[in-house]
Symmetry: C2
Subunit: 213 residues, 2 copies
DNA sequence: CGAGAGATACGTACCGTTCAGTAACATTTT
DNA sequence: AAAATGTTACTGAACGGTACGTATCTCTCG
């Protein structure tokens, strides 16, 4: 269709691809900036400046800044499931190994320099308002993740899969947050190992009614 | 002194104490609003309006909005340790029970309506800049919490106390975040139970070298 | 073939509002 | 008296968002 070669007329700010349409460059820049600095911290002027476009171009493709933020999070959501499903596909029929594989990668990334946690979780922290478009994407993602984890816990044969699934979810969210709180050397590096221990303890449990009456 | 009953000249917004000094009322209002809505989401005008004071009063007691935010977080930090130490004091010499007690309370609060997670964690999400005054308070708190948890894990006799301590920290942070992500019915309700299982699995572990070579 | 009409894609310049923060002065409280 | 607070008015910058003009490309139709 259209050419893939570069160097358009506005080549000052962005160092990456330049032949993309304005909307694509805006979304790419927004993804980078929103994730690194936070959504509230970044103004639309900064986005269009770094994208090398102008503000009307942004508002032609996105109804509002909130809409742009939601678009960023939708991409983030897709990439999340890509990583998750890759770990699942790597160990067919073995949910324990699937989780260990997924969390090993999470633990690695979470202690890397400049790691900023889960973009969807961060957005929910920034926008506590229940029906905010940016928040909705993350909430849906977390609900589905919870469902999947509980399902996997059941497939492992856990006597109380909901508790184990929720425990794994807590560890995952803790790794995201701790990654950006502590940086390299933080506790997130142990998430896979701790999750495996939690699984171990939950599977080798005979009576499921262990809570306080 | 002056009356404790309400309806001062500016009685529209705040429903609480009215006899406090301006600085105290500002800090009280800031604590409430910053926690509920987020620091970036709340402007100083909104704070002084709801506190029933004027803007110069704010800047007579606080050098800047960031300084006010840091003050809010310092109070939050103190209250955190009050709760933590209360759980510790309730079970002298039994760190496992201490943690269970603390996390039982965390789990209860985290699934209450309107729960908004840990104010310090949230501030760190809002301000990724390394040396931001609001971020510094939370980072120091988390470092100390990590140290305490590892210490308690060692006191339990865990063969690898750093890993267990970090695992507990992940569960705690996960409970904070999940509490505000899911609201009532969320996975944070299981944090104490899952932590206890993790402790169980970590204590009944003979060889500490269980990772991949 | 070639002119012109849309349609598409983008920029220039600007809007009103809100932001954090301040100066100068009056008033109340202790 | 003096310490604390209120009143009013203001600043300059940043905010999200928009009215309007201008290229360029493509699809017709004479």
């Amino acid at each position: 269709m259209n050419d893939e070669k570069t160097v358009g007329p506005t080549s000052e700010a962005d160092g990456s691809r330049q032949s993309l349409r304005a909307a694509d460059r805006i979304l790419d820049t927004a993804r980078k900036l929103f994730y690194r600095e936070g959504i509230r911290a970044i103004g639309v002027d900064e986005i269009v400046r770094q994208a090398g476009v102008t503000k009307p171009s942004l508002y032609r493709s996105f109804a509002s800044k909130d809409d742009l933020a939601a678009s960023y999070l939708k991409v983030y959501d897709q990439e999340f499931w890509k990583r998750f499903d890759a770990a699942v596909a790597a160990h067919p029929g073995d949910p324990r190994k699937q989780i260990f594989a997924f969390l090993s990668r999470v633990g690695e990334r979470a202690v890397m320099e400049g790691y900023r946690g889960c973009g969807m979780t961060n957005a929910a922290v920034e926008y506590p308002e229940p029906n905010h478009p940016a928040r909705a994407v993350g909430e849906a993602n977390k609900r589905e993740l919870r469902r999947r984890l509980r399902e996997m816990a059941a497939d492992m044969g856990a006597p109380d899969p909901d508790i184990l699934g929720d425990g794994l979810l807590l560890l995952i969210e803790g790794a995201y947050i701790s990654g950006q709180l502590f940086g390299p050397g933080g506790p997130a590096a142990t998430v896979a190992q701790n999750a495996d221990r939690l699984i171990e303890a939950s599977l080798s449990r005979e009576n499921t009614s262990h809570r306080q009456p």
